[in-house]
């Protein structure tokens, strides 16, 4: 593994299994044991280097969010390996087999991976400041004063110095997402993962969140962003990764992907977004 490799995803496979609901009708018709299997990741390889900004594009159902969620073990995987900073995530390897590791060890590894959700997921019973301070106190075991001295500059960085005492119910979507970003950043992770950070926002609030993400990218933070914002991806990403039906179909610098895409799925995606002529 190269010195500057932060994320190393190797041949990852992931299947969602859903069982038919045990309703009376399904039982009468003998359908209660039917299970649906959907393979969402069919062997994905991805290497992210220190300081890189990667944007993952793809239509819905392409597996891009699932891949991101696997990287910090919010989803289990069936096969393959995911390393972050050299640590195998979520599993121990014994004689080539993956064995689930202790939850406390996974938790320890997750402190090194920042994650920003589409729906913000701020702690509803805490203020903006309380949200950023909570993991510093509960996970990093900092004192209240220390946690505060880390949290405040992070909230200032995302432009919310005047909203620190507000509860999430008194913040706009864009403000909530910026608090969520500050909360993840305050843990000083090696990498930040963004899962469609602007998809749940009103159009007029998208800009303020993208501006913050861009600012973080310019500070040299390693990040992976799953997004539908094509122009934004082109603007800030060092490398674009295009996914379709559980595999990476194409990757490369935005200058090439956006002007001379090789794969038909990439072309279809770009023309649907109006970047390439149809």
């Amino acid at each position: 593994m190269a010195e500057d490799t932060i994320i190393d995803v190797r041949d990852v496979h992931k299947t969602f299994v859903s069982e038919t609901k045990r309703t009376l009708w399904n039982r009468l018709t003998g359908r209660h044991h039917v299970e649906k299997r959907v393979e969402v990741l069919k062997g994905v390889d991805l290497v992210v280097h220190r300081g890189e900004t990667i944007a993952i594009l793809g239509s819905s159902g392409s597996g891009k969010s699932t891949l991101l969620r696997c990287i910090n073990k919010l989803e289990t995987i069936e096969a393959g390996r995911i390393y972050v900073n050299g640590h195998l995530i979520g599993y121990e390897e014994r004689d080539g087999e993956l064995i689930a590791e202790k939850a406390s060890i996974t938790a320890q590894k997750r402190t090194d991976i920042g994650f920003v959700f589409q729906h913000f997921n701020l702690f509803l019973n805490k203020t903006a400041l309380g949200n950023v301070m909570a993991p510093l106190r509960d996970v990093k075991k900092l004192s209240a004063a220390e946690a505060r001295s880390v949290a405040v500059p992070n909230l200032e960085m995302v432009g919310l110095a005047d909203k620190m005492e507000n509860y999430p119910s008194k913040l706009s979507g864009g403000q909530k997402q910026r608090v969520a970003i500050a909360r993840a950043l305050a843990m000083e992770p090696s990498v930040m993962l963004f899962d469609e950070p602007t998809s749940a926002l009103d159009p007029e609030l998208v800009g303020e969140v993208l501006a913050v993400i861009k600012k973080i990218a310019q500070q040299g933070t390693t990040m992976v962003i799953v997004t539908h914002e094509m122009q934004f991806a082109r603007d800030i990403a060092d490398r674009i990764v295009v996914m379709d039906q559980g595999v990476i179909v194409e990757e490369g610098p935005p200058s090439r992907i956006f002007t001379a895409p090789q794969h038909p799925k990439t072309r279809a995606l770009l023309s649907r977004s109006g970047i390439l002529p149809a």
């Binding site: 919010l74 320890q108 959700f117 997921n121 993991p135």
Partner: protein, 217 residues
């Protein structure tokens, strides 16, 4: 006017019983909160034995009258050598009973906390146990405030049942007064008013708590 004057006159004699009611209600509520939370956690745990025990407890408590439970603790337990004074027996009976009902409040409140809150905590490096105690349970308490308050008021009224196990709370005190003075109307009217004086302000507080919980939700 005699009736009103008589009602006022018996009030001081009944007020003596208020500290007993407070003692019963606070003691039993504390027991019910702690035990109720434990039962709720057992009911959602992944250990089937724990789930089974908790569900069995719930069914037994909910399927038998509180009055019978109190009588059982006070009159039946001594036959196997467990003698409990009236007030502790009352606290135990009320507490064990309300724990079952509060566990259902906690359980549904815990399950109502959005999965996104759990995922956020996990992604920040909280262990599953820490996520439960630091993120999920504090939020479920906010949701539970209103129902807990309502059960507390109900419990204060149910303290009257402990009169049958020799606790000199308001009703028992009224019974004693009645057997001495035979001012039946005045005594029981005063007792009813006393319960109202205690429960009305409390139900106002519950309304405020519920409104606050909704505002931050």
């Amino acid at each position: 006017m005699d009736f009103i004057n008589n009602t006022f006159a018996v009030f001081p004699a009944l007020l003596v019983a208020v500290p007993v009611v407070v003692q019963l209600a606070l003691g039993a509520m504390l027991l019910a909160l702690v035990l109720g939370l434990l039962i709720a956690l057992a009911r959602i745990s992944s250990f089937s034995v724990l789930r089974g025990v908790a569900t069995f407890y719930l069914e037994v408590i909910r399927g038998t009258p509180l009055l019978v439970q109190l009588v059982y603790i006070f009159f039946v337990l001594p036959s196997i050598g467990v003698e409990i004074e009236p007030v502790p027996a009352g606290i135990l009976g009320l507490g064990l009973n309300y724990a079952a009902y509060l566990s259902e409040v906690f359980r549904s409140a815990i399950l109502s906390v959005e999965h996104g809150q759990t995922e956020a905590a996990l992604s920040l490096g909280y262990t599953p146990t820490k996520t439960l105690w630091k993120v999920v349970i504090p939020q479920s308490f906010v949701v539970s405030m209103g129902p807990i308050g309502n059960y507390f008021i109900a419990m204060i009224k149910d303290t009257a049942l402990t009169s049958v196990i020799a606790v000199t709370e308001i009703l028992k005190t009224a019974n004693i007064l009645n057997s001495q003075t035979f001012q039946t109307t005045a005594i029981y009217t005063a007792a009813a008013i006393l319960y109202l004086i205690i429960s009305l302000p409390l139900s106002r507080i519950v309304v405020v708590l519920e409104r606050k919980a909704r505002a931050n939700g």
